[in-house]
Symmetry: C2
Subunit: 293 residues, 2 copies
């Protein structure tokens, strides 16, 4: 936990995304809706006669000098938001909520519920992990330097491939969490459940973790794992954005050595079996680890 964020502050931030009057007021202020997707918001549209506009993109230009996001409160908000709309909603609403609360317009003119489509790798398809997608969308909102923007996105996906999820320990357990949980997610035991996905795709990430832990991909254990993973990704995104915002630059970590060897023979520039990819190769192409001529 960072020194400048107390447990009470974190609970306060997280509470905004859990429910109740406080959350409703916040969602109204940010233009989101806490009701079903098909119900139009009942609030009056915000008056935006002056100040930063949504059209003035990207939004780094609207951040004050020296601006930094808070990590701990954003992670806790992401963990709770997962139970209210999935992994993409978790990172998206937590990161956007942090920006809306601390930087104002145009972040507070955007709908907080935009990320609900991305859960389970886009509508449950198993594609790009929704926690990554929610983060990528907010990174895209903020970062004005196109080279650094691509580097942050690449670095986030490469970090995800190797990170032993889940690592986050919630400050307060979500009320929905106990349903169907059979594994021990306590801080003392969490390391026993951890596994690196070796892929940025929801399909491989979820299926592999569930198989390794002997649980279904639809039960409470999967939810508890992905809620913590969502907080892990949100926290890493805060770290990356803060690094960029304090230096106006970002450099992605290099590819793993095995994948680097793959693309040394199969660069995108050749006409015979070129490979267009920045991801880890061996996860899906283990048969190519030896000689394959």
């Amino acid at each position: 936990m960072s020194d400048d964020v107390t447990r009470r502050q974190m609970l306060g931030r997280a509470g905004l995304l859990i429910g109740g009057a406080t959350a409703f007021g916040f969602l109204q202020a940010c233009g989101g809706s806490s009701s079903d997707d098909s119900t139009p918001p009942i609030t009056e549209p915000p008056v935006t006669e002056e100040g930063p506009q949504v059209s003035q993109f990207p939004y780094e230009q609207h951040l004050p000098a020296g601006y930094q996001l808070q990590s701990a409160s954003t992670q806790e908000a992401a963990y709770h938001a997962y139970y209210n709309g999935g992994c993409c909603h978790g990172t998206y609403s937590a990161l956007l909520g942090e920006l809306a609360q601390t930087a104002g317009a145009p972040f507070n003119l955007l709908p907080l519920d935009f990320g609900k489509f991305g859960g389970g790798g886009v509508a449950g398809y198993g594609s790009l992990c929704g926690a990554l997608l929610g983060s990528v969308l907010v990174v895209n909102m903020v970062v004005s330097n196109a080279t650094a923007r691509a580097a942050i996105m690449t670095d986030l996906m490469r970090w995800y491939e190797e990170y032993p999820f889940p690592a986050y320990v919630p400050v307060a357990k979500n009320a929905k969490e106990d349903t169907g949980v059979t594994l021990d997610f306590s801080a003392a035991n969490l390391v026993q459940l951890q596994r690196s996905p070796r892929s940025h795709l929801c399909h491989a990430s979820v299926s592999g973790w569930c198989a390794a832990n002997g649980v279904s991909a639809t039960g409470g254990d999967k939810l508890a794992r992905c809620a913590r993973l969502t907080a892990d990704v949100a926290g890493k995104t805060v770290e990356m954005l803060n690094t960029y915002l304090s230096s106006s630059a970002y450099t992605a970590r290099p590819r793993d050595e095995v994948s680097a060897a793959c693309v040394s023979c199969h660069p995108g520039t050749i006409a015979t079996k070129p490979v267009a990819s920045g991801m880890e190769c061996a996860t899906c192409h283990a048969d190519k680890l030896g000689s394959h001529f």
Copy 2:
């Protein structure tokens, strides 16, 4: 080409995204920027004292009764926009541009350049095809019924896996297209270049097509293919959105038979090797097509 869209109208729409004074005016009106990502827009923010707001999400509520998107002009715009910012920018800016032009706010309050991050499967990583991602983001903006929204996204990705790209024939060839093109992309020869990706991922889609056609993944042929694919995806998205908008419902096509058989033994609900996925299985798991106990 649909009966109500003439060749001149299509060229006019497409021209908005190519360049010149017309495009600049349009981008200004829609709040986008035609300049480098790192340069803040020079336009004054639009006055949004009344009318639909960006916060009032999703935006189907702001569409007039009977609203339908135009396919042909959107496809041509997507094709040209590809050469100005990649595949995700192609579908995103063409679909959002169509909505902004024909339905107004809040679509015309959003930045047209938001999709440039997604090219090459998110910052060139080879993940979810950017043309799909740009379309998914706009589908998410429009569709208020969460069940139909997920069905459209699933259907679009499943359609993509099997579609023999590229199929679109531009009305007017983009000025940037001739650079490095060695294959014959004429309407008469296009069928010779077509290949179904069998994956919704940029990595497999691009690498497989380039290998099959004996070209690099970085040259003009790849660009010409992906520009046409971008138009194909934009057109399919228009068709899907129009189906939904005229019926308020949508049903995704079922999984392919092989994948359906895979998940009959490996449903997400079991604790031993559950599979979390909606995508085609055999593309990456060909070794599992026979007995694998």
